[in-house]
Amino acid sequence: MTIDPEQAIPLEQIELSVHEAASPAEPGKARDAAFWAPNVTRLTVDADRAAAGFNVAGKRVTGPQQGFGRLWQRTYTVKLGSSVSPQQLITEWKDHFGDFWPKGNRFHGLLITPGEVAPIAVNTGAGMKLSTGVLVLYADDESFTFMTPQGHMFAGWITFSGFADGAGTTAQIQVLIRPNDPIYELGWFVMRRMEDRFWKATMVNVAAHVGVPNAVVEEHTNLVDKHRIWRNAGNVWHNAAIRSVLHLLSAPIRRIRRGRAH
């Protein structure tokens, strides 16, 4: 992906949009209420993105305790110095989220707002795209969090945040995940490397966009729970990798059916 520095939004303009977005909480309502997605039993995908969301529509979201494998907390950070404030960083990250992803991957989200359901297509490197998605669980002006659906490689949350410390602003991606089923658990060490490449490339692109070229991304992994949750082994029924392959193989049949319908 190429980021054109000319496209960068002036910082004053970003500051304005942050202030405009902030509004006081209604009396009697928690001040973070607007930041959370509404409670949904099953995910829905709008008609425009239905084709991309075939592995998402009708699925339930999965927190880390609904997955199968070991529970990992992985943290990627990159220091951005004083080039951008945490709020400016998050505004930019939300606005260009999919653009920062490595080439060959696709984020079909429209806006990073609470409750948004975004189909995604992940390049597996084996000549096949894995179709799944995310729910925007939480979004405020300094962070946003995705929650994964049944069938996704991982059950859990991915939080993108910016925070200030003595050295300026740091961008962070923190995932709290379990591989969703026994097949994904078997492939954990491959997926872990894929995830490293994916998020490190993403953060380098984010850093470049806010004026920090050649940024160095640090990664830290913590095994939170070494136990597998065997009662969730049946999650394999929803495995998005298997369903993506079946979807690909059945494409000719769908084309024939569509042709007959017309």
Binding site: V40, G63, Q65, T159
Partner: protein
């Protein structure tokens, strides 16, 4: 990051109670982790996280709570919660945390509920 979260630990019956106050967000990691370690030090069968004085939890805070839950599970210890407002009960539902953490109205009902094995 300066934490706006505070925690105190005490024992009520079989429960080790962690009373949280302020804001549970990413900056609360050390406070929450240290409080859990203190609460678990004597090997209680269950740890209660009391949120009655908490006025803000963001998604990073929820992730911290899951980390505590996972650590307790790996040690064979139950984690229950009390004092959640209707709003945060809903958040626990949305994030599906309530599938795994028994919720009680307050510390007293948690203490009696744990003894009786009854839900809130």
């Amino acid at each position: 990051m300066t934490s706006k979260c505070e925690a105190t630990v005490r024992t009520v019956g079989n429960l080790s109670v962690v009373s949280l106050s302020g804001e549970v967000d990413g900056s609360a990691a050390h406070v929450l982790s240290a409080a859990y370690e203190q609460a678990a030090a004597d090997g209680p069968p269950a740890v209660l996280l009391d949120f009655a004085a908490v006025d803000y939890i963001n998604s990073t805070g929820i992730a911290l709570i899951v980390s505590v839950l996972a650590k307790a599970r790996s040690e064979g210890r139950r984690v229950v919660a009390s004092g959640l407002s209707d709003h945060y009960r809903l958040i626990f539902d949305i994030t599906r945390l309530s599938d795994f953490i028994q919720l009680y109205a307050d510390v007293d009902s948690a203490a009696s509920g744990i003894n009786e094995g009854a839900p809130a």
